[in-house]
């Protein structure tokens, strides 16, 4: 049915909450641009109901988690004796019963916050308490004389996690409303906040609660436990050509120098200047031209408003979000200002335009050299259209098709599923979604599988990734083959292998350029010969992952596929999982959800879950290192212990056995694996690298981190 700005409220309110429905939004071709703008600052919470309806039946579940004790409160810590009416609870969520007990003891949180500051001379961060039988964790964020309190059940979130969520909420409130006080004091905001926290609680309480039922069911959410706590956005690595396409398109847009954007068109100063923009696809960051702080702000915004989940699961006809924001970088500057320059007094606006699975987020500035904004500011249809045009242009460059292709190919760098390392299992691997293995080898342990490869299988192995396809075959390609296939005998220089993975991928260029393909075919034949020879000379160990992939690719009409680099040293590819976070650029590089689905495996699901829990612990320790670097001043009260403040690498060895092992007589087979966290310091920036690999060859985490992210990330 046609929806206009005027009728949308009526239509949405006509749905009763029991109905389940799918909403697909589509803009009529003939409509004026302003009709597509669904959200207006004065009308309803922006995008509220739409997202709520789209994110998986939140109506049905909103009642089911009311039983679980949880609360978000904003408390006034100063009791004015003259004014008895002064409210102590400035905001509370949920407004219904479940938190009544927590609301009743709000005085406890206030007293704790106040008293402990006096005793220990440091700010309160968290509390654990038992309500009845249920253990709750409480996180605090103290701001001036007010206290933000978040309480969640221990089985849904750990103490550390609750503290992180509290920090993030505070950050988001500052980003959206300038300060916590402005966010919570104004009752007009409360509906909006209720909605936001509904979304949050839905993610935290409902999804996790239903997770225990089927562990192998909904894997991607397991990732969230750790990733959501990291300050960063997940990055999707793409071939250079695609990256170039994206960046140049966005730069064109940001330059804003096309005719319609010009001063003549408006006959006035332009209303906004573009500070920067970032492009998201299914929640993965493709490109960012924003300062890191701004990117992180937008990342939290998208995350808490479930925009990432929305873009992943639904095809969005058009999404427009417009709101005034207060970027952390501008409002609470961390860095000292540069002499002779000061940021303009201005207002900032966030404009997000979504199309299908992609979203382009732009930070606009009004004031400064642009026209100053006064009063309520409405989204400018012209900018919305430009954003949309940019997205369409990107689509026409087949950028999103390439992203889709990137998500559908096997993981890069190559990953193994832990299930492959168990000798034999009663359940068939195929059922578990594991890539098919050569039938002759599927019953034997993996190592023997690796040694028993026929040259034919080897020949089939992705020649393209061994040789940068757009270069003519050259003698140097031979060395690259050697290096890639024999990491154990000589340490690989990270450079060539990275080159392999980043340059050899599929690509748009390739698809369109038949001549290039022709040369590629010829390269293929020589290349495979070289591999074969190399295989005789030294040990050549293709990993089962590649063999599985071979078969899959063989059925595919397209020969194009992304190549994989082996990150670990040693014969086998023993890499199970990794997370790399670069705090300087705010990006997280880790396997995509599709990668995890590709690997499958029931034990692997447990392993990933364990990895997440473990990384939290590791990061807690490594954070002490970061903290100690930041603050050197001596505290007066009760100082913490600093013995472990110089820890840079922290590893834990786990032993993993198949769950539900029924054979009491025999020892269950076991695989040992490491989960290692490492801080990598390069000049003044610190990167965090978390990796999970099988315990066999000793790995160098620095080298792995370097190989992984060499040349990765947004333009800087």
């Amino acid at each position: 049915m046609p929806v206009t700005l005027k009728s949308i409220d009526k239509i949405l309110s006509s749905f009763s909450s029991d109905n389940q429905m799918n909403i697909q939004l589509e803009r009529p071709a003939s409509a004026l641009p302003s009709d597509g703008v669904l959200s207006q600052p004065k009308v309803k919470p922006p995008n509220g109901k739409i997202i709520k309806l789209l994110t998986e039946r939140s109506h049905d579940v909103s009642n089911s988690f009311l039983e679980i004790p949880h609360a978000i409160m904003y408390l006034n810590m100063v009791r004015d004796s003259d004014d008895n009416d002064a409210k102590e609870i400035l905001y509370k969520y949920p407004s219904k019963d479940s938190a009544s007990k927590l609301h009743a003891i709000h005085g406890l949180f206030v007293t704790l916050g106040d008293m402990l500051h006096n005793i220990t001379d440091s700010r309160i961060t968290g509390t654990s308490l038992l309500v009845g039988e249920e253990l709750l964790h409480v996180g605090y964020f103290k701001w001036c004389s007010e206290l933000l309190v978040v309480a969640l059940p221990a089985k849904n979130a750990s103490q550390h996690q609750v503290q992180c969520i509290t920090q993030q909420i505070a950050k988001l409130m500052n980003f959206m409303f300038l300060s916590l006080n402005r966010a919570f004091d104004d009752e007009a905001n409360h509906g909006r906040l209720d909605h936001l926290f509904n979304l949050l609680m839905f993610q935290l309480l409902y999804k996790r609660d239903n997770m225990d039922v089927g562990l192998k069911g909904d894997l991607p959410h397991y990732q969230d436990i750790f990733l959501q706590m990291l300050p960063g956005i997940r990055w999707l690595s793409l071939p250079d050509e695609i990256k170039l396409d994206i960046d140049s398109t966005i730069t064109d847009f940001e330059a804003a120098d096309f005719a319609d954007f010009s001063v003549q068109h408006y006959n006035d100063r332009r209303p906004y200047i573009i500070i920067g923009s970032c492009l998201l696809y299914k929640g993965y960051l493709l490109s960012s031209h924003l300062p890191t702080e701004d990117l992180l702000d937008i990342g939290i915004y998208c995350n808490y408003y479930s925009l990432n989940g929305l873009a992943t699961h639904q095809t969005v006809g058009q999404l427009v979000i417009w709101r005034e924001v207060f970027p952390t970088r501008r409002v609470q500057p961390m860095e000292p200002s540069v002499h002779g320059y000061s940021e303009p007094q201005a207002r900032w606006f966030l404009l997000i335009v979504g199309l299908e699975h992609s979203a382009l987020c732009v930070l606009l500035e009004a004031g400064g050299c642009a026209f100053p904004a006064i009063g309520t500011v409405f989204p400018d249809p012209f900018y919305v259209d430009q954003l949309r045009a940019t997205l369409l242009h990107l689509d026409s460059l087949k950028v999103f098709a390439a992203c889709e292709e990137r998500l559908s190919v096997p993981p890069i760098p190559a990953l193994s599923s832990v299930d492959w390392f168990f000798p034999s299992r009663k359940t068939s691997g195929l059922e578990l979604g594991q890539p098919p293995l050569p039938p002759s080898a599927s019953s034997s342990p993996m190592i023997s599988r690796l040694h028993g490869q026929s040259p034919a299988a080897v020949r089939g192995r992705k020649p393209s990734d061994l040789r940068p396809f757009h270069r003519p075959p050259s003698p140097s390609a031979g060395t690259s083959v050697h290096v890639d296939s024999d990491n154990e005998s000589e340490p690989t220089s990270p450079f060539p292998s990275r080159t392999n993975s980043s340059q050899s991928s599929p690509s748009m260029g390739r698809r369109s350029d038949l001549q290039r393909r022709g040369s590629d075919v010829s390269a293929e034949s020589t290349g495979s010969n070289e591999i074969y020879r190399a295989g005789k000379r030294t040990r050549l160990v293709p990993d089962p992952y590649n063999l599985g992939m071979m078969q899959r690719v063989a059925n595919d009409s397209s020969v194009d596929h992304f190549s994989a680099t082996k990150l670990t040293a040693g014969q086998d590819n023993t890499l199970f999982h990794f997370v790399h976070m670069d705090s300087a650029t705010g990006i997280i590089v880790c396997p995509t959800n599709e990668d995890i689905k590709f690997l499958g495996g029931s034990i692997h699901a447990y392993l990933l879950q364990n990895f997440q829990i473990c990384c939290k612990e590791i990061r807690r320790v490594l954070q002490r290192h970061l903290k100690s670097n930041r603050e050197d001043e001596q505290l007066k009260g009760i100082p913490g212990d600093d013995s472990l403040n110089t820890v840079q690498e922290y590893g834990i060895l786990f032993k993993c056995t198949p769950p539900n092992w029924t054979d009491a007589k025999k020892q269950p087979p076991a695989v040992q694996y490491w989960v290692v966290g490492r801080l990598v310091k390069i000049s003044s920036t610190i990167k965090e690298f978390y990796v999970c690999y099988q315990h066999s060859t000793c790995q160098n985490t620095i080298e792995m981190a370097f190989k992984l992210v060499y040349g990765e990330g947004p333009l800087s």
């Binding site: 003891i105 700010r123 309160i124 308490l129 472990l644 060895l653 786990f654 000793c698």
Partner: protein, 421 residues
């Protein structure tokens, strides 16, 4: 580490005592009252307040037997709350050890109790301070590793028998040197607290003090007779009515211990650095802590010499620093990575469950700028070792495994109990 400990009555919140350690200023009366007040407020609303963290410290509340509230404010080292709970448990059991569970759980005369509790201060203070032994954090008794121990078993047994008892032991500089099989049957916490108790006795004295055993007999006291044989070397025996202290001093000591004077002196010397002589130790190891979880005992040394001319010599870690690092490493590992092994009697609040890993953690390491740490969690043993940063990462694991293997074979550490039982 700086810490405050406040003890109050659960009903009424009358302060019984308060101790502070490290650089912390003693808490004001009002602050003690507020620490109690928040807990009471929560209790009245049916909520149990367990812990609260601030950026630099943590606070733990525990109520024991509905009569005593202990509040601990401690500097945060990132470790799990389980260690703070262990400490409070130790403090409470210390009170039980001196005064008996009946006195503590049924409060009658509070003024008198407050006076009586003063005797606990030395042991409680030693628990709060960072001391040179690891016994309290791992709830085990720390032993001396020396080959001469075997020859002291015989004289101890005969001495204890003469005293009409089966519980007896010899302590050496705060570590257990040799004990009777019955003594080994006490829980790790009891042995640890008795060890602290004996260490707190005045030097070169003989004493006869009634003690309650927190788990074995919390309501009936036994006489603990302790006699200093040498400075820092104490023989103790738990007995009933006979013999009197003077009988022990005048008749039994000389006959049983004089012939072993030289051996005892040897043990005293060995206990200073506590480096096992019989086991080859890699020069990269700067300190270690090995826990025999089955027998509730541990052995540690942070005074391993630095090899001259080695890389480690360039940036040497002091013994205190090594000990602090090893303690921190232990506290950060156990409770969060490895599971906690408690005395079976201990009931913990549900709050300090370690984070639930889906797979069992077997080893862990931390590589820092100036040192490396490695820990192994095997069936009955746990090793925590600190290495020089010059030792390459891949060697650390091998050396640790080798060291633990050697130590397991060493009779002085593993066979202490089996031999006699």
């Amino acid at each position: 580490m700086a810490a405050h400990l406040v003890c109050l009555t659960n009903e009424g919140g009358v302060p019984l005592f308060s101790r502070s350690s490290g650089s912390a200023k003693p808490l004001a009366f009002a602050e003690q009252g507020m620490l109690y007040g928040v807990q009471m407020f929560a209790q009245n609303h049916g909520v149990t307040l367990q812990t609260t963290d601030t950026e630099e410290s943590k606070v733990v509340w525990r109520v024991f037997h509905d009569s005593i509230v202990l509040v601990l404010v401690q500097g945060d080292d990132g470790s799990s709350h389980v260690h703070a709970n262990t400490l409070l448990e130790h403090v409470f059991q210390t009170m039980v050890m001196y005064l008996g569970l009946d006195t503590i759980s049924r409060l009658r005369n509070i003024e008198r109790l407050r006076r009586d509790l003063r005797v606990c201060y030395p042991v409680i203070d030693s628990l709060l301070e960072d001391v040179h032994v690891f016994d309290s954090i791992c709830e085990t008794v720390e032993v001396v590793s020396t080959t001469e121990v075997a020859s002291l078993q015989e004289p101890l047994e005969s001495f204890v028998t003469e005293c009409d008892s089966t519980f007896g032991c010899v302590h050496c500089n705060g570590r257990l040197l040799v004990a009777t099989p019955k003594w080994w049957s006490l829980s790790g916490q009891e042995m640890m607290l008795l060890c602290r108790f004996i260490r707190s006795l005045p030097k070169n004295s003989a004493s006869d003090i009634p003690v309650y055993l927190p788990h074995a007999s919390p309501k009936v006291p036994h006489r603990l007779i302790s006699v200093h044989l040498l400075s820092g070397l104490v023989v103790s025996v738990l007995c009933l009515d006979v013999p009197t202290l003077s009988t022990v001093q005048s008749k039994l000591i000389e006959t049983h211990w004089l012939p072993h004077f030289e051996t005892l002196k040897g043990c005293l010397r060995a206990s200073v650095t506590n480096i096992p002589k019989t086991i080859p130790i890699d020069p990269g190891i700067l300190g270690f802590l090995v826990i025999n979880t089955e027998q509730h005992k541990c052995i540690s040394s942070c005074e391993l010499p630095i090899v001259e001319g080695s890389m480690a010599e360039r940036r040497p870690l002091t013994v205190q620093k090594r000990r602090r690092i090893l303690t921190s490493f232990y506290r950060n590992t156990v409770g969060s990575i490895f599971s906690v092994i408690h005395s079976p009697e201990r009931k913990d609040p549900s709050g300090d469950r370690p984070s639930t890993f889906l797979h069992a953690a077997e080893e862990t390491y931390m590589n820092a700028l100036d040192h490396k740490c490695f820990a192994i969690n095997s069936k009955d043993f746990r090793l925590f070792a600190i290495f020089s940063s010059a030792v390459p990462h891949h060697a650390v694991r091998y050396v640790s495994l080798q060291f633990l293997e050697n130590l397991k074979k060493d009779k002085a550490f593993t066979d202490l109990r089996e031999k006699k039982s």
